[in-house]
Symmetry: C2
Subunit: 215 residues, 2 copies
């Protein structure tokens, strides 16, 4: 998922983590969020179970972050949590726009997990005059004609595409022109943007395919 080149454009001075390591960070973080009030340290075994990998993977991943743990004690929950949040760029809250106020966009706008994990839905856009002005989640649907202006003036910096396949490329280009940081694409089509704008493509059928292996 996402474009292959995304890793090449980390700001200078930041260590580049492998894709696999990055993909495990949210799973470590979820465990750390869950346990942080109950325990001060966490073992590589616990982290391994949460991420579905083996403890050696965990130790390697965390060593890439500069964490080495203490034998028999493990890792400090608070420190590790802060470090992963900083590495993922979510030590401050991120402002996200959703483009498309159909069923999927509306469902995403109401998804409580985003806020819990540090993402605020700052705006939702649609082209339909029937949808513009409606309240969805906590925000009012705005005319899609405002996307470029709102992005350029900093109302949001990440965008989620929940538009039909036929509109996705055009909307992505508009977002890129306006300086969007990154795009999460739920539209069932690949979008092509310059390499310095990371895109992840969510294919919901992938999950069913993986599940199908197990049952």
């Amino acid at each position: 998922m996402g474009n292959q080149e995304a890793q090449l454009y980390r700001p200078p001075g930041m260590r580049v983590l492998s894709r696999a390591t990055v993909s495990r960070m949210p799973r470590y973080l979820r465990l750390l969020d869950d346990i942080r009030e109950a325990q001060a340290t966490v073992s590589s075994d616990e982290l391994a179970e949460a991420a579905g990998v083996n403890p050696a993977n965990v130790r390697r991943d965390l060593s890439d972050l500069g964490f080495h743990g203490t034998r028999g004690v493990g890792y400090a929950v608070g420190d590790l949590r802060s470090r992963i949040q900083r590495e993922l760029g979510i030590d401050h809250r991120r402002k996200v726009a959703i483009v498309g106020a159909g069923n999927l966009g509306t469902a995403l706008a109401g998804y409580s997990g985003f806020r819990q994990r540090g993402f605020d839905v700052a705006a939702i856009y649609d082209i339909s005059s029937e949808r513009v002005g409606r309240l969805v989640g906590d925000v009012i649907v705005t005319d899609a004609g405002r996307i470029g202006h709102d992005c350029a003036t900093g109302l949001f910096d990440m965008a989620i595409l929940a538009v039909p396949a036929t509109s996705a490329q055009r909307v992505a280009e508009e977002l890129v022109s306006a300086g969007v940081s990154s795009i999460l694409n739920f539209a069932p089509v690949r979008v092509i943007v310059p390499n310095d704008v990371p895109v992840r493509h969510v294919d919901l059928s992938t999950e069913l395919q993986i599940l199908s292996y197990y049952g």
Copy 2:
């Protein structure tokens, strides 16, 4: 994602693949679907790029499936595609039920990717009398009271939970009692079921967290 134990319950005689290998299979398959009319063979480099891993990973994954490729030629697209489909259990079409006909359930029912990838939405359920009887995608919303009967009689074998967090555990238990094969859970809460029923939990904020690392 999913329960840790899922791998322990493969039918006897089936090779157990690692979680990481299984998670890459849909990405290989997507590339194979895309290129199968245009080319007869595929290189490990092409597969590696599609899956975001290195070619050595690809060769190891495919060797676990009994595929070794031919130096300078690569892998036969048709054979490899059939083998992955068989391994994932999607060499025949799978019948899926969606529980919850709110925004997310409705969006999932209309998601064209499921059908393309071998999954047919056989039913969609809700408890709301306002939603029951409505046409969503190609199916009519059925009263949730029918879930157990319909699952037990084979109308579907996989289920997608698109219900509120407060209902997820109860619905999961009902599905398990009726003999569901596996559950894909979009509700923002973990559900606990016996180890022989695989569950994958989709946390949509994971994708935003990963993306946030890159931009």
